[in-house]
Structures are given as structure tokens and as C-alpha cells.
Symmetry: C2
Subunit: 284 residues, 2 copies
């Protein structure tokens, strides 16, 4: 049970966690703060939060848990804003899509990491904003916690229970490993989809191109509707892992290009068959 949860960043993720914890009655009071008062008002009006505060002191000082659900690029600034008001017992956790950079920022700003439990709910959809929040966003989705050496087992368990009560399945992982896995399964696909839409958009026949695009294209590029600010931040904050995955992808494309150039039927069939098998296995 959480007495008072402070959410910083009441968008899709922050709002959905608030709704889920209200539904499961895991949290007595949910207070929010953030830069945008209109957004806080909206969250209150929609019944997503119980109250909001405009100053960080009032929002943070009595909280058992402070949940940072802001874009990666805003994490450091928020750590700086909350630091003076954090009680010794307050657990801080986050929802950042890259973990190494958030841990670095926390270390630099907070000094000690013992009460910061880094986390990442893998539950994005293309929509954003508190209007898009819903209480089952995390149902049967995975949340990855990437605890640091200084964390206490009981604090980790506390955050784990919070996510479980929101319906999620919780996994533990090293931060570096998390960033590499996510670069492959999430960051790279998003970059590829943005790149495809932008590439086609630059062609002369752009209207015709989009007119003749079918269902496959629609599915493939759906993630290119995602929030540009969030994805800019992810690219900046997880650049090493992303660049490494992009290089591997470029090598794979070159392999395919060479096979097409030389009409290497066997090679093409081999790659497509292997990919189809892997994808079909994943669907099950």
C-alpha cells in the first residue's frame, strides 16, 4: 500500500499508472506536479489524480513514492527540482525508456542512489497525453526494473508490488543490458519506421505513394505516429546502444542489397524463410 504517490508528468504513462492504482486501491492519495498547469487541471478534471501542486516542495515532501514519468530529456531537471524536498524514506522511481542515462543523471544530481529504483514499463502506444490514459495499459505488460547496487531489497520489492498491483509482470535486468535489448526491440523499429515515412515523404510522387499504400504499410508505419520529442530524447539518451543496433541493421540491409543485385535467389529465400520462422514463433 502507498499512502501518498507523487506523479511528475501526467501523460499517458503517469496517468495510466494513477488510474490503475486507484482501481486496485493500492494508493490512498495521488498528487501530481509538473510544468504545465493546464495539463494538471485536466488530469484532476478527468479523475486521474486526487490533487495537484504547482510547487515541488508541497508535491514531493510527504510522498512515499515519487514517480517520474517525464521525457528522458527532462529527467535531470526534475531530479534537481525534487532533490531539496525528498525525505530520507521517499522512494523515487521512473518510467524512462533508457536506463543508463537516467541512472547517471540521478547519481550526478542526487549524489546517492540508494532510494532511486530505476524502472521502465514496456507499454507505450502511439497516443500520448493524459486523455489517452487508461487503467489497463499495464495489464499483462512487462515492467523492467534495473536496480543499482545501493538499492535495498525491500524498496525494490515495494516498487515491484506497485507495478504488480497495476497488472504488470515485473522483470529485473542490468541497466546496460536493458538499454541494448530495448534498442533492438523498440528503439530501432521506431527509427526504421520514422525513416521509411520520411524517405517516402521526400519522393516526388508522395501523394500517389500514400494513396497506394496498403494494410502492411499501415501496420509497419503505425509507430511513426509516436511522440517526436520522446523519440528524439531516446535517440540522444541511448545513442550508444542504438548506433550499435543501427550498424548491425545496415549490415543486414547490405547483405540483402547484395543478394538482390546479384539475383542470389537462394540467399534471399534463406533470409526470408529464417525471418518468417522467427516472426511466426514470436507470434505464438
Amino acid at each position: 500500500m502507498i499512502n501518498r504517490l507523487c506523479i511528475i508528468g501526467t501523460g499517458l504513462i503517469g496517468g495510466s499508472l494513477a488510474l490503475a492504482l486507484k482501481k486496485s486501491a493500492y494508493c490512498k492519495h495521488i498528487v501530481a506536479t509538473g510544468r504545465n498547469e493546464d495539463n494538471l487541471k485536466k488530469a484532476l478534471h478527468l479523475g486521474v489524480i486526487d490533487s495537484y501542486e504547482l510547487d515541488y516542495a508541497s508535491a514531493v515532501s510527504d510522498a512515499d513514492v515519487v514517480f517520474l514519468a517525464v521525457p528522458l530529456g527532462a529527467m535531470r531537471d526534475v531530479f534537481e527540482k525534487i532533490k531539496p524536498h525528498l525525505a530520507d524514506t521517499t522512494i523515487v522511481t521512473d518510467a524512462g525508456s533508457a536506463k543508463v542515462s537516467v541512472i547517471d543523471a540521478a547519481k550526478q544530481v542526487l549524489g546517492k542512489l540508494n532510494k532511486f529504483i530505476p524502472g521502465h514499463p514496456i507499454a507505450g502506444i502511439e497516443k500520448s497525453g493524459v486523455e489517452a490514459a487508461f487503467d489497463t495499459l499495464f495489464q499483462d505488460r512487462r515492467v523492467i526494473l534495473t536496480p543499482v547496487a545501493e538499492n535495498m531489497a525491500e524498496d525494490i520489492e515495494f516498487i515491484k508490488s506497485m507495478w504488480k498491483s497495476a497488472g504488470a509482470e515485473v522483470d529485473m535486468m542490468e541497466a546496460v543490458h536493458h538499454d541494448l535489448i530495448l534498442a533492438g526491440t523498440s528503439h530501432l523499429p521506431h527509427i526504421l519506421a520514422f525513416a521509411l515515412v520520411d524517405c517516402l515523404n521526400n519522393l516526388d510522387d508522395v501523394d500517389e505513394i500514400f494513396r497506394f499504400a496498403a494494410g502492411g504499410f499501415r501496420d509497419f508505419t503505425r509507430i511513426a505516429s509516436s511522440d517526436p520529442v520522446m523519440w528524439r530524447d531516446i535517440c540522444i539518451e541511448n545513442s550508444d546502444a542504438i548506433l550499435s543496433m543501427m550498424q548491425q541493421y545496415q549490415n543486414e540491409m547490405q547483405k540483402l542489397k547484395d543478394a538482390i543485385k546479384t539475383s542470389d535467389s537462394d540467399k534471399l529465400l534463406e533470409i526470408f524463410t529464417r525471418a518468417k520462422q522467427a516472426r511466426d514463433l514470436f507470434s505464438m
Copy 2:
């Protein structure tokens, strides 16, 4: 109205056209032929076709329309098999995903193109085989015809009416232009999806990677479940347009990679914002 339609290749596309034309009562008798008798038996048993023939002479000689729904790589062979049995009045059409190569094959084998109306229904799904066929596959989908100079207007109209009675919207286009447009909207996305799944599949952490993949990844890679033989053939038969699109895509990726390498926030935000706008417009 078609008295006798001969379908060569009773898979998803051939089977679905048969079902649609039966439903709209646009065709009196649908006969099929092909290399695989089991498949023909299945199509008959499922009520997709009215009869089948194992020799091309019986299948083709009395047909008003012969519809080739075989992989691109099999087109030339089928043209050779049907040529001796085609009546002067029989219209031949096809469903090949690339048009220039099919027209070339038809020209080389049939000699004259006047009765061949090249076509391409843009209605693929990841499933294949006659079991997957359904009578509304072409409903509100686009079919592109790429007539050649030798075609007669009335024959083009005849094939157009056939597709309309199957529920499709019919567009006309130059074959070269078709191949370029489709390379961008369909062939490139499929290659990118195959490449991503194969790329991830080659990593050491492959099990973990697929375990932590979320909904975006699922959508993005759905088309990597498509038929490997069909996609090998498309890569071989539309190689020029595909290689040109792949080159443009590689340039786009390099642009993004450079922006990530240099932490160029503005550039990343610009590209992602432009892509999101284009994709959102397309969704409407």
C-alpha cells in the same frame, strides 16, 4: 459477365477472386489448373472453384479469361504452358506484384501482347494458400491495371469490370511507374521487416529480445510473416526499383545515424515531426 474463367494458381489471391466472382454471380464457371493436384482438390472441396483440370489444354482452351495468380518466378513457365491452347478471343490477365518483368515474359513467350492485360490487386495479407481465401479480400481495395499499347479498350474494360464486381477500385498506371510506387509502399517495407527480424534473430540474446518485444514491434514485423518464395521472386523481378528505393532508404538512415552520433536534437526532432505528420495524414 464471364462464361468460363480459368484460374492458374489457386492460392489466397486466385481463391479469393473465385469466391468474390461467385458471390457476385459474375462468372458462370470457374475452372482451375496448376502443378499441385492436392491444392486443386482442396479448392474444389472448399467450394472455391467449380472444377479443375490437370492438363492446361482442357483448362485454358474454352476460357474467356485466364487469370495467372502464381508467384512472379513462375509466370514465364505458365505463359509457355498456356500459349498453345489460347483461343484468339481469350483474355489473359495476372496478379503479379511487379509488372515490367511479367510484361517482358509475356512478350517473349506469347509474341504479341494484345490479349494480355497486366494487373495487380493490392490486397495481400500475411497468410497464403487457398484455405486463407475469402470473398471480401478485394472489397474496397485497389487493383492497378498497367495496360500495354497493343491492348484494346474493350478488353481493358472487361478486366476492369471483373475486378469491380469483386468489390475493388481499379486504377490505371504505366508499368514502370507501378513498379516504382510499389517498391516504395510495399516491397521496401517488407524487406525492412524481414531484415529487422533476421538482424535480431542473429543476436546472442535472441530469446530475451523477442520476450521483451511489445505491440509496436508486433505490428512493425507482422509483414515478415509473409510468404518467402513470393518475396524472393518480387526482389528478383523488381530489382531495379527496389534497389533504388533501398539506396534512398540507406541515405535516410545515414542521415539519422549522423544526427544521433552528433546529438543533433534539432535534426532528430525535425525528421520525427515531419514523419509523424505524414503518417497521421495518411491515417485519416
